[in-house]
């Protein structure tokens, strides 16, 4: 299996520039691209109302749709692309994916300052930890620009 770039995306307009960066990188390096969407229903934990709905399936379908949009963009650019929707904690999911696919580089967006559900500190710590464990290159982007680059082999 050829090496692949993993792009973590949440879909939506704000993530298009970051998806484009990953697509450009995959084209430049002539590698495959894997879009990953992670859903997490922890937000339901503090509500008192009954959750009678299979919300995880709903979110899977939503994630699948987001990734279909990303896939269309990548295919238009001529990049070989795969997509996967996973559930659970971000850190755990990334570690699992790195075991399943021959990932060379991970491209991920910087957390939103106002509305982000993670913090920059969390992402930096995550990048350090997983980067050291797996030797994978991490590129953190914001509006299509690289804001943090971590390469364990170089460092």
């Amino acid at each position: 299996m050829e090496t692949t770039i993993l792009c973590l995306t949440r879909g939506g307009r704000d993530s298009y520039p970051n998806q484009d960066r990953a697509i450009a990188l995959a084209k430049e390096r002539a590698t495959g691209l894997l879009f990953l969407y992670v859903s997490n229903v922890q937000f339901l934990g503090l509500t008192a109302s009954p959750v009678l709905v299979d919300i995880e399936t709903e979110l899977d379908e939503m994630g699948d749709f987001m990734l279909a949009m990303a896939k269309e963009r990548a295919e238009k650019a001529g990049v070989q692309v795969m997509t996967t929707v996973r559930r659970g904690v971000f850190r755990r999911v990334i570690k699992d994916i790195l075991k399943e696919y021959p990932i060379q580089t991970v491209v991920m967006g910087r957390p939103g300052l106002e509305t982000g559900i993670t913090t920059t500190e969390y992402i930096n710590e995550l990048v350090q930890e997983i980067g050291q464990e797996s030797g994978v290159e991490f590129i953190v982007v914001h509006q299509g620009e690289i804001v943090n680059h971590f390469n364990h082999e170089e460092s």
Partner: protein
């Protein structure tokens, strides 16, 4: 003087019961022996023995009944003092201890407790010559003593009974008052700031209340709040069973994909007109919230609306925020539309039809005003032409929005219509809404034969426990008198001015519930509204309860933290790169709150 009809009646009844039993024994015995006697002889003997025993017990019962009334009749040679106890708000005071004492003697000669309606009767064996003291004691009230002097004693002596009439007990601010108040506020804050899960917060309050009542009060009796039995009395079981029944029905309906299908049809119908799309989505959400609940509606509508918005190349929040606002308002129309309406309906005896008749037009006016504001606020987004949707994405969207199980849909739809008919027609026979809800849920289980375990799991027990614990926490502040003080304060402000009362409830509750969870707020407002409904002329039409319903639900639109539907919608949008921010929600939600509150207020003024 009392006569002895009770004794005679009791005796006759027991005799009749005994005769019936013997008669039954004879008939049964004949039946047995008419059959093959040799074959059934042993069984017949056992049967005969059983009925003989029954007859003996019946006789024993008759004798016991004879002896007890005889004793009672002897006691009825005494003298009776009766009356009623109310608080300063004219609400009955139950479980007060009433003792009769002779002057200079702390040993009571008789004692009793007041009933649920505040009434009490005490029987004294003799009438003293000069004075008789009647003492009223109850936690959180001042201990008061009434001295019966010659006039009263003469009446008692001559007539055998003395009627006090209504006696007002004064509230006392005890240490328990402060403890209960602090616990209630603690629970509210823990829920508001998400420090604890709502159920955990309510259960913590519940536990603390009883720890103080039983453990701490052993050291200082002033810390007593209420007994466990008294606390349980505050749980409204009608609410619990109605919510439970609706949970099962909703769990079946939600799996059919009807919401997603309707959202997709809205997209198709709008034919690229975004303003029309948002209005249709708002109407669907409002209608669905009226019939089910707004939390579930938003759980189902948000993912598909996000997909539609993104597919159109528009900001999906321009669809989703109006939807959540409409869901909070749409639920007001019916008894089952919001948890707060369920609380109000069960407490005040307001039925499904009443909500429908008195709220629907007001809600439609509010929705129209909201729609106008939403179109104005998002005018740039709606004027934008999306980039069109590719056939692949269209197909995916259609697939995600397809009806999952049409067979289940029509069956569950039919049952739902029957349940609604039960809500509407049940009022004619005084059937509480919990009955059709539970019956409908049972019918679905029988007809559709879903996995019962998964259906029972669909009943969210944490929510039911939350309600039960919350009822007790709110019951505690009612018990210690906090709500009476608030009610008295509000009554002082409002006086007899009904429009002012409606205004204060609609806007006051509406403003508070922008930040405070509206379920505990509504639960704690109910006794206050009951009091005000009794003191303000014209408020007997339940108009203040409708004002509470509107304020509590519409206020939830003010802030992102104002309602659970808002929070869950925000939670879903956080799974995308276009999450709802506090500020974004505030910009639309706050003006909409006051626009809809004004519409609701004006409607109530006109209608009542």
């Amino acid at each position: 003087m009392k006569t002895k009809p009770t004794f005679i009646e009791t005796l006759l009844l027991n005799k009749k019961a005994k005769t019936d039993l013997v008669q039954k024994a004879k008939i049964a015995g004949r039946t047995f022996f008419n059959k093959n006697a040799s074959l059934h002889r042993k069984i017949a003997k056992i049967g005969l023995a059983f009925f003989l025993c029954a007859a003996i017990f019946s006789l024993a019962g008759t004798l016991a009944a004879f002896i007890q009334p005889a004793q009672a009749s002897m006691q009825r040679e005494g003298f009776f003092i009766s009356g009623g106890l109310v608080d300063a708000q004219n609400q009955p005071v139950s479980e007060a201890q009433i003792t009769a004492l002779l002057p200079g003697n702390d040993q009571p000669i008789a004692e009793t407790e007041s009933q649920e309606d505040g009434s009490w009767t005490i029987e004294v064996p003799r009438v003293p010559e000069e004075e008789l003291l009647v003492r009223f004691r109850r936690p959180h009230f001042k201990s008061q003593t009434f001295i019966m002097r010659q006039n009263e004693l003469n009446t008692l002596r001559q007539e055998g009974i003395y009627r006090f009439g209504s006696y007002t007990l004064e509230r006392r601010i005890s240490a328990g008052f402060w403890i209960a108040t602090l616990i209630f506020l603690g629970v509210l804050l823990a829920i508001a700031f998400e420090a604890l899960h709502s159920t955990t917060a309510a259960l913590t309050g519940f536990s603390l209340l009883f720890l103080f009542s039983y453990v701490a009060s052993a050291f200082d009796p002033d810390l007593f709040i209420f007994s466990f039995e008294r606390g349980l009395g505050y749980i409204n079981w009608e609410v619990i069973f109605l919510v439970m029944g609706m949970m099962i029905i909703v769990a079946v309906i939600e799996g059919t994909g009807i919401f997603q299908w309707m959202a997709f049809q809205a997209y198709r119908l709008s034919r690229g007109r975004n303003w029309l799309l948002v209005l249709i989505l708002m109407l669907i959400t409002a209608a669905a919230s009226a019939l089910l609940d707004n939390f579930t509606t938003m759980l189902l509508m948000t993912p598909i609306s996000l997909q539609i918005g993104l597919a159109l190349g528009l900001n999906p929040l321009a669809f989703i925020i109006p939807e959540v606002l409409a869901s909070n308002v749409g639920g007001i129309t019916t008894l089952v539309g919001t948890p707060t309406n369920i609380l109000i309906g069960a407490y005040a005896g307001i039925g499904f039809n009443d909500f429908l008749i008195h709220q629907t037009v007001g809600v439609l006016i509010a929705l129209a005003a909201m729609g106008a504001y939403v179109l104005f606020h998002y005018r740039k987004e709606f004027a934008q032409q999306g980039g069109g949707i590719s056939p692949t994405l269209y197909q995916k969207l259609e697939q995600n929005a397809k009806l999952e199980d049409p067979n289940t849909l029509w069956k569950s739809g039919l049952v739902f219509v029957i349940v609604l008919a039960g809500f509407i027609l049940g009022e004619q026979v005084h059937m509480v809404p919990a009955v059709p809800a539970i019956a409908g849920a049972t019918l679905l289980l029988i007809w559709l034969k879903p996995d019962v375990h998964s259906m029972i799991k669909a009943v969210d027990w944490t929510t039911l426990v939350f309600f039960m614990a919350l009822f007790i926490v709110v019951g505690a502040i009612q018990e210690v008198g906090l709500l009476s003080f608030v009610a008295a304060g509000m009554s002082g402000l409002i006086g007899e001015n009904l429009p002012l009362g409606i205004f204060m409830i609609v806007f006051g509750v509406g403003t508070v519930s922008t930040a405070i969870a509206n379920i505990p707020l509504t639960a704690s407002m109910l006794p206050i509204i009951k009091f005000l409904s009794g003191t303000i002329p014209g408020a007997g039409s339940n108009v203040l309860y409708y004002a509470l319903s509107m304020g509590a639900a519409m206020g939830g639109n003010g802030l992102l933290i104002g309602g659970e539907a808002n929070l869950v919608t925000a939670g879903i949008t956080q799974q995308t790169s276009t999450p709802i921010s506090f500020k974004e929600f505030l910009k639309v939600g706050l003006p909409v709150t006051y626009i809809t509150l004004t519409a609701g207020f004006l409607w109530l003024l006109i209608h009542f």
